[in-house]
């Protein structure tokens, strides 16, 4: 899903940078307020883990491949602002050192994977936990949120490509459809992986789930439900 230099028009690059810059201002400020010493190893660990996970390319449809994003796990553990900071580190280093994703398109890539791919899952978890107040509801939210996060991140990338005519000549409908169909499959895998990681952490280190989250007050903070179902 990493958009390289040359695929987006100048206007789309500028617009996506502007939107992302706004989130960066609030995101870094939010992390600075919410995080303490306990968060630093977790931030580093999950950033490294999902950098590595993005190297694994899974076959999807018609000989194409897709990779996990990692945004849902980052959002769950660190809050959406923490996830944004983590994903920004990943995408910046991938672009600078490995040429995976462009520099002119960094704003778009962060918008897709670090904002849409992080905030949508987080919002879904919060809604599910608040409505159901049960662990079963939380896991349903984790799976659905992870799926939606990947799907909407791909749709967002499709829109950016479709709006970049004549640089990218497919138009919005085709670009969005192609990206959405292919990435909905990896969205299911993302849901399974996120639920599994969540279950392992809840069983072995539930204290990590109780750490303060860096999240906008509008979205609120979720907490692990005490009820099993």
């Amino acid at each position: 899903m990493h958009i390289p230099d040359g695929f987006l028009s100048l206007q789309v690059c500028a617009l996506t940078y502007a939107v992302t810059a706004l989130f960066w201002i609030f995101g870094f400020r939010g992390v600075r307020r919410a995080f303490d010493e306990r968060h630093v190893p977790l931030l580093s660990l999950f950033t490294a883990m999902f950098f590595a996970a993005q190297m694994m390319n899974y076959p999807v449809i018609g000989g194409t491949t897709a990779h996990l994003l990692g945004g849902p796990v980052l959002a769950l553990l660190l809050g959406p602002y923490g996830g944004l900071v983590s994903m920004t580190v990943i995408l910046l280093l991938q672009a600078l050192i490995f040429g995976d994703g462009g520099l002119s398109t960094l704003g778009a890539n962060v918008l897709n994977m670090g904002i849409v791919g992080v905030f949508i899952p987080y919002l879904t978890f919060v809604i599910f936990v608040k409505v159901t107040n049960s662990r079963r509801g939380l896991y349903a939210g984790v799976f659905i949120g992870s799926f939606l996060g990947d799907l909407l991140a791909a749709v967002s990338a499709g829109f950016q490509l479709g709006l970049s005519v004549p640089v990218f000549q497919y138009g919005i409908q085709l670009a969005v459809a192609a990206m959405a169909i292919h990435h909905s499959i990896i969205g299911i895998a993302e849901g399974v992986v996120t639920s599994t990681i969540m279950a392992v952490i809840a069983k072995s280190r539930p204290d990590l789930l109780a750490l303060p989250k860096a999240a906008p007050s509008l979205l609120g903070v979720w907490s692990y439900p005490s009820r099993g179902s």
Binding site: R32, T47, M55, G99, G102, L161
Partner: protein, 93 residues
């Protein structure tokens, strides 16, 4: 927390190894439609290790594996630094 970090780094190393040895073929949807359209990507920047390979050793699985593991550790260090800088800034306020 130390134990979590050790286990997590081991999992990350496993991901990187699987990415190099078994799941390395990359043909993303984006690449496919770009290929069909004849759209050309260009780079504003010359990356040190293009496509996660060591220049001159593109076919060497060993060098790609070492690079992947080293870069995972480097990303851990970079995120650690960012985290430390952010909480240090808070302390100064």
């Amino acid at each position: 927390m130390d134990k979590v970090v050790v286990v997590g780094i081991a999992v990350a190393a496993l991901f990187a190894t699987a990415g190099v040895l078994w799941l390395s073929t990359s043909m993303e949807t984006l690449d496919e439609i770009a290929e069909q359209l004849g759209a050309k990507e260009f780079s504003l920047w010359n990356p040190l290790f293009p496509d996660y390979t060591v220049p001159g050793h593109e076919e060497s699985v060993g060098s790609t594996l070492v690079l992947s593991l080293a870069s995972t550790v480097m990303v851990f260090g970079a995120a650690y630094l960012v985290g430390k800088l952010l909480i240090a800034k808070r302390g100064k306020r």
